[in-house]
Amino acid sequence: MKKIFYFILAIVTVSCSDTTTEDISRVTNYPVITLNGESLMILNQGDTYTEVGGTALEGETEIDLTLKGTVNTAVPNVYKIIYSAINVDGFPASKTRTVVVLSTTPSAINLEGTFARGSNINNITRLADRKYMCDNAAGYTTGDENNLKMIFYNVDDTKIYAPYQENASDTDISAESNVGTIEDEDNFNWIIYASSFYGTATRIFTRQ
């Protein structure tokens, strides 16, 4: 009888013992990816894209870097190469290289001028045949401090793209566009992915 009593007592005392977090904590080093070369490359159609790669470090140790994506420089477009790595504990990291392949045909569309989204003005200036600068990429209230000043490219007279730009506004909002659409010389639309303030509505611009 006494034995049984001790048996039960033992079960009751050990059954909920909370030793699951003892002696198991240790350091995990997140993968740190460094790209060789620039994270944004602007090429002309027909140029050669050379993959310069990058490195992934887990602490001091170099680990495998996985590349996803290809660049076809024969076809003007926006290409993304994604470099990713996973550390020994399964924590991932990734970095993206954006390769913009511009058409070499002289552009038939000149987007320079004053565009508007509703009553909000976006002034566009031309920096090169296919390179532009705009002062209100999201088409927000004219003159607002959150307006995004962004460089963008007319890829092939149908596609428009503004690469990721840090601190594109006076309020330090960083932003990138999707690959938007040029309807014609007077109309284009895109989506702006911003670090704050802006949502992801399709922003439609029309020449004033």
Binding site: M1, I4, F5, F7, I8, I11, V12, S15, C16, R117, G118, A138, G139, Y140, N146, S196, F197, Y198, G199, T200, A201, T202, R203
Partner: protein, 167 residues
């Protein structure tokens, strides 16, 4: 015999204690309220009966709709005591088509008067926010005891939370 019985009993007890003693009960399903499809923050403007002129020259204000404690067809419309001053309970008339209306001369809690809400309707993805995002629209009519016979029209859209969409 008696001793055996006690032993068996204690063994079963011990076994069941060890099996159930660490049961955390799992993750309970949180679920939602009955009127969750009607709940949210809205930007709503009050209009004169013509449906165009802003009532008393007002602009959009933040409204909130939320479930009543009873968690049934009742929910609250609340403009946070801002412009037209309305906080009243209304009832869902159709959960599927998202329509609602209030009882005639329901209590209005901010002005301590009464209000009659009619023709309330929410339409999914039928409006644009100030920044141009596609959002749900809301509409209802209200007749207040301080202006009998005049039916104000309230129209607006769902709040997104994006700063470009804020008031």
């Amino acid at each position: 015999m008696k001793v055996l019985n006690i032993k068996t009993f204690l063994l079963i007890l011990a076994a069941s204690v060890s099996f159930i003693s660490c049961d955390e009960g799992g993750n309970p399903e949180a679920g939602g309220t009955k009127t969750k499809d009607f709940a949210g923050d809205w930007h709503i403007i009050a209009l004169e009966p013509d449906g165009e002129t802003p009532a008393y020259g007002g602009d959009y204000n933040l409204f909130t709709t939320y479930n009543a404690a009873s968690n049934d067809e009742n929910f609250w419309i609340d403009d946070h005591d801002s412009w037209m001053v309305i906080k009243t309970k209304v009832q869902v008339t159709d959960f599927k088509n998202l329509t609602f209306s209030g009882q005639p001369d329901s209590e209005e809690l901010y002005g301590e008067g009464t209000v009659t809400v009619t023709n309330g309707k929410i339409i999914k993805k039928a409006a644009h926010s100030f920044g141009g995002h596609v959002v749900d629209s809301i509409y209802f009519e209200a007749e207040f005891d301080w202006d009998p016979g005049i039916i104000y029209k309230f129209a607006g859209h769902k709040r997104t939370g994006f700063l470009e969409d804020e008031l």
